[in-house]
């Protein structure tokens, strides 16, 4: 049988650079220069969302530009301020991960500053995350080497990995810290269903100072800090918008009550935190029920 796509494959076309009309090129450059100036005046560069500690790790990474996106992708880091450019190299950049500041720069062998190379790094970066398995999986998919898979320890679940620049990260989820238990009816979690999770994180990071770590689904992010907890979920959704989760004592009773009251309830699913069910009220508004613990 003939492949119906076959004739079309010959159409693949790499980009052929084409110089536009020089007058257009010059006019656009001028427009950009003015737009950049206007923007810089209107928006001071992003600042850190938490006070800075006196002690900050300073990582030397080959290809710091690449590393900025890698740490964003793997650990939800965001760049603070403008990187200091030094020719082709990044001479200094600051990123914030989970409220902590890291400095980054390209190697400066002339100052004796180089990345860890192939040896075992003697210093590790310890990062607390809400879901260590998800964070490890995300980092591994992005190119990290797992040194020790996550295991349960008395102090929490943790694992170790080496990032593509040779730095070791110890990721750990603390055992659930005993805050006051939520009362039935409390909103305990908000899921923001958006088309692009990473973009939403950038937006709310700029507006509210949110930082987040990758969740367990692609383009899913766990925001750190706010109460109730908030997750961002990028992708195509039936319901774009905020879907709250309400705590209940007994999810089977609650699901039955939803149906009796004229709503719809989906199946009860087991989650890391307990049991959940996606429901709709009798006017169609979506919400989750959660039986925690």
């Amino acid at each position: 049988m003939t492949d119906p796509e076959r004739p079309f494959r010959s159409l693949a076309r790499p980009t052929t650079p084409t110089d536009p009309d020089p007058a257009f090129a010059a006019a656009l450059r001028e427009r950009l220069r003015r737009a950049l100036l206007k923007q810089q005046a209107a928006h001071p560069t992003p600042t850190r969302s938490s006070p800075m500690s006196a002690l900050a790790p300073y990582l030397i990474v080959r290809d710091a530009r690449d590393a900025l996106s890698w740490y964003a992708e793997a650990f939800g880091a965001h760049t603070v301020g403008d990187p200091y450019l030094d020719g082709d190299r990044i001479g200094h950049a600051e990123i914030e991960i989970a409220g902590a500041t890291l400095y980054l720069a390209d190697p400066y062998p002339e100052y004796g500053l180089d990345g860890p190379g192939d040896g075992k790094p003697p210093v590790s970066l310890h990062l607390s995350v809400p879901d260590v398995d998800a964070a490890m999986a995300r980092a591994e998919a992005a190119g990290a080497t797992v040194e020790r898979p996550a295991t349960d320890e008395p102090y929490g679940r943790g694992g170790r990995l080496i990032d593509p620049y040779g730095h070791r990260w110890m990721l750990q989820t603390s055992p659930a810290d005993a805050g006051p238990a939520p009362k039935p009816g409390d909103a305990v979690y908000l899921t923001l269903n958006v088309p692009d999770g990473r973009r939403a994180l950038d937006f709310y990071g700029a507006v509210l100072g949110w930082t987040a770590v990758p969740g367990r689904v692609p383009d899913g992010w766990q925001v750190e800090g706010p109460t109730p907890m908030i997750g961002l979920h990028g992708g195509q959704h039936d319901d774009t918008g905020v879907v709250p989760m309400y705590a209940v004592d007994d999810i089977e009773v609650a699901v039955a009550a939803v149906r009796t009251a004229g709503g719809e309830a989906g199946g009860i699913e087991r989650q890391a935190y307990g049991l959940s069910a996606l429901c709709r009220d009798d006017q169609g508004l979506p919400f989750y029920l959660g039986q925690l613990g």
């Binding site: 980009t15 084409t18 656009l28 220069r33 560069t45 200091y84 450019l85 950038d202």
Partner: protein, 178 residues
């Protein structure tokens, strides 16, 4: 780093976008011109692409690279076709045809004529074929860019290939003198 280990020098204004401009402009413009075929439109979309980059650069979000700019340009192109599709909808019947049948077709396409045929197709068909074959993107990426489901995109691609073939063969019968 100017003063290694310390909190660096006050950063000079980041020349990022402007320093990239001379190298990136022919790439972005070339990408758009090859796909939309009209100089004025390619210029408009090029300007939109770079101005969008200005807005994102302020937030220090993505590091600026040429492939990233091409990605933005691709979104601008899709937006353009979507606007066009909206304007033209209602002026013509949606092309029918069973999206599941497709006769085997094994022709060697002439690139120049293929480009002319593409320009005669509806914006939706043109968008789907351009992203899938000229840009060589997997169907899932095409679906995400067009904001359609995977299934709907596959059906759209079948219809688009059929429409392309009808048009291509009709120009052939016209004597190939086009």
């Amino acid at each position: 780093m100017g003063s290694p280990g310390s909190r660096a020098v006050g950063p000079p204004p980041d020349p990022g976008l402007l320093s990239l401009y001379d190298r990136a402009l022919p790439e972005v413009y070339g990408y758009l011109l090859a796909r939309c075929g009209q100089r004025a439109l390619a210029e408009d979309l090029t300007a939109e692409t770079f101005l969008a980059a200005v807005r994102t650069q302020v937030h220090g979000a993505a590091p600026l690279t040429v492939p990233w700019l091409i990605g933005v340009a691709r979104h601008k192109l899709v937006d353009h076709w979507r606007r066009l599709e909206r304007e033209q909808r209602g002026l013509r019947l949606l092309d029918g045809g069973d999206p599941h049948t497709e006769d085997p077709w094994d022709d060697e396409l002439d690139t120049l004529r293929a480009q002319q045929v593409l320009e005669q197709l509806s914006p939706a068909h043109r968008a789907a074929l351009t992203l899938r074959y000229l840009d060589d993107l997997p169907v899932a990426r095409v679906a995400a860019l067009l904001g359609r489901t995977l299934h709907a995109t596959e059906a759209l691609l079948v219809r688009a290939r059929n429409a392309f073939r009808r048009q291509y063969e009709s120009t052939e019968q016209a004597g190939g003198a086009l």
